[in-house]
């Protein structure tokens, strides 16, 4: 028999989103997922079932998230929670979700707890910032040939996890940090940080920045005429950066990435772009939208693969774990292993791009070649 939330005609899944409040710009993730499910429904649903994608505003307050998730599971009987957003909100509810044996797919969070939880029900979206931090040090060493780096990081779990990852491999790579500068997410300007980094004599900069602060940094860097090579983390890779800072300021900057770029001719990306345009015409396509797409698409694929048999949460997990080298989504290739994290990550690999001539172009560091 089917799990709760499943009827002959319908699949009910839920997510919590910061629709209002200070981080409401991240609601883009919800919009991405929502656009995808609208598209699915308009094209006949999944195996004849329509998807009801219920989003609730938790304002990024864990207490509200908790009561929303309780409602999802106890009242609404959601089948699964797909593409919700937020580190603090997810941290607050993940134990509960797991205890209720409800699948949590593609949550937008990089907090360590959510990525390392030992539970078969959780499918994190992207790899930990720790791993990424470590990779970026290697990148700075091998691509830039730098042994002294400065780091600019967001003063929050993402930035701090990056820092931890970076620190963990310094010795191994023979790299030292000359300046580690934090900034608050909404900080008006980052000039003092940039000045300090420049003064520190760094040979390269690792930037753990979201698009807006990244753009501020690049503007400032250009202003000071500081030609230091920079590599930025994946969540700063967005056309937004160039739009905000101007192409010149971003020219020559490297980014790690988990998705193909919107400029990429790959069919799934172009499809996502047109879907978004159709259902959320006022949105400018952005990486965060793709976070939403990724979880939603994997979920859809799994349900599709489950065919006409009973749709249960256990089967969903099994089916997801069977996805191997699937290339039908915005993620270049998805392989999900058995067990729990890290095998459960939807996205496992980082790749790199270089901003050049107004475009992101693929770049493979030596070890990938």
């Amino acid at each position: 028999t089917d799990s709760p939330g499943i009827t002959d005609k319908n699949i009910l899944i839920c997510s919590y989103q910061p629709m209002t409040g200070k981080v409401s710009s991240y609601f883009r993730m919800g919009k991405g997922a929502d656009a995808w499910f609208k598209y699915i429904n308009d094209n006949g649903g999944i195996n004849g079932r329509k998807v009801t994608y219920r989003m609730v505003d938790d304002k990024y307050e864990p207490a509200r998230t908790k009561s929303a998730v309780k409602r999802f599971i106890e009242r609404d009987e959601c089948f699964a929670i797909v593409s919700p957003l937020g580190s603090a909100p997810t941290s607050a509810v993940i134990d509960y979700i797991v205890s209720k044996k409800v699948p949590l797919i593609g949550a937008g969070t990089g907090a360590a707890k959510n990525l390392t939880i030992e539970s078969p029900w959780v499918f994190p979206l992207y790899p930990s910032y720790f791993t990424e931090g470590a990779q970026l040090v290697r990148f700075a060493k091998e691509v830039f040939g730098a042994s002294k780096v400065a780091v600019l990081y967001q003063n929050d779990p993402s930035g701090k996890t990056h820092m931890a990852g970076i620190k963990s491999v310094l010795e191994k790579n023979g790299v030292s940090i000359t300046a580690a500068e934090g900034y608050e997410p909404k900080e008006v300007d980052v000039s003092s940080q940039v000045i300090k980094m420049k003064q520190s004599g760094a040979e390269a900069v690792i930037c753990s920045c979201a698009p807006e602060p990244a753009a501020k940094f690049y503007t400032e860097r250009a202003k000071l005429g500081w030609k230091v090579p920079v590599v930025n983390v994946f969540f700063g890779k967005s056309p937004k950066v160039a739009e905000l800072a101007g192409n010149d300021a971003v020219e020559g900057i490297y980014f790690s990435t988990i998705f193909r770029d919107f400029d990429s001719p790959a069919a799934p990306i172009q499809q996502a772009k047109s879907i978004l345009k159709k259902y959320y015409p006022e949105e400018t396509p952005d990486a965060i939208h793709l976070w939403g797409f990724a979880g939603a698409q994997v979920f859809t694929e799994a349900i599709k693969r489950m065919g006409d048999g009973p749709i249960t949460r256990e089967r969903l997990v099994k089916t997801l774990e069977g996805i191997d080298n699937w290339t039908g989504s915005v993620v270049p290739s998805i392989t999900i292993g058995e067990g729990n994290a890290p095998e459960h990550f939807i996205i496992k690999d980082m790749s790199f791009v270089l901003f050049k001539g107004g475009k992101f172009v693929d770049f493979s560091p030596p070890w990938m070649k």
Partner: protein
């Protein structure tokens, strides 16, 4: 490094200063802590994008149109929202501006989305060298405007009949009316001027901090702190306070720890209020008994 930190601090401080001036203006004329002041500027920035990009107007036409629109916005807020409750205590007025804040943020987010947008005008990025410290054209403009508006308003308040009348209205609206001062008009004018300044702020600040419904939150909070430096009454005090905050933040970020940077302003304000509750730039105190 010191020179550069100070100069960049002044540049940031000037962003706070313009908003702080408007905050002081509205407070001293209407007893209202205007939480929507930043949003006026935010609306201005969005309109700026719209005029420039969608309608393809020139920069100067855009400036004119934006300033005109935000002035109207200020007047409309006064007329529709503040006037009916003008006689309430300041907490009510303050809360009403929170309402305005919600509405403006909501409307802008609704129309143009919540993600950050670039402002289509960029100042010449080549910086200017001032004795070893660098500053960009955009920041220089801001400093210039902040000083100019500050000077004009200071003069206006203290040396013109209309300026004195504005203060008289705050003091005792009923008697001001009795003196023949058009109270309603002056209150409306105050909000109009607040909108006017916000229009400039929006256009000037947008290329630097980008455009989104929340763009002004941080600036506004700092502007309040700056305004308190002048006892919420002195325009000169607000400008000096704003510049001090900008510089202090940068120095704290540069020499102490970058995590202290944003809190600097609040540590400053707590210390200031504990020791000089009337603000740094004291205004003559009246007796209460």
């Amino acid at each position: 490094m010191l020179g550069q930190l100070i100069l960049s601090g002044i540049a940031t401080g000037s962003l706070y200063a313009l908003t702080a001036i408007a905050v002081v203006l509205v407070f001293r004329n209407t007893r209202t802590i205007n939480l929507a002041q930043g949003d006026f500027a935010m609306v201005g920035a969005f309109l700026g994008i719209y005029f420039l990009k969608q309608l393809g107007f020139s920069y100067y036409t855009t400036v004119l149109l934006v300033v005109a629109s935000t002035t109207l916005l200020g007047v409309a807020v006064e007329w529709l929202i503040m006037r009916p409750i003008a006689k309430s205590d300041w907490l009510t007025l303050f809360t009403a501006t929170i309402g305005v804040f919600y509405i403006l943020t909501g409307v802008m987010g609704w129309i143009w989305g919540r993600d950050t947008k670039a402002f289509p005008v960029n100042f010449d990025p080549t910086p200017i060298d001032l004795g070893g410290a660098l500053i960009s054209m955009g920041h220089l403009y801001n400093i210039g405007w902040a000083l100019a508006i500050g000077v004009v308003l200071y003069w206006f308040f203290n040396h013109t009949k209309q300026g004195i009348a504005m203060r008289a209205v705050t003091d005792d609206p009923e008697i001001a009316h009795l003196m023949g001062i058009p109270v309603k008009f002056i209150v409306m004018l105050t909000w109009g001027v607040a909108g006017f300044i916000a229009g400039f702020v929006g256009i000037l600040i947008a290329p630097i901090i980008y455009v989104s419904p929340e763009m002004m939150d941080e600036v506004l909070v700092k502007a309040y702190v700056a305004a308190v430096f002048g006892g919420l009454y002195s325009i000169r005090g607000a400008v000096i306070g704003a510049l001090m905050i900008g510089v202090a933040e940068n120095l704290a970020g540069g020499y102490l720890d970058s995590s202290l940077k944003t809190s600097t302003a609040f540590i400053m304000i707590v210390v200031l209020l504990a020791f000089r509750p009337q603000g740094l730039i004291g205004v003559q105190k009246r007796r209460e008994i």
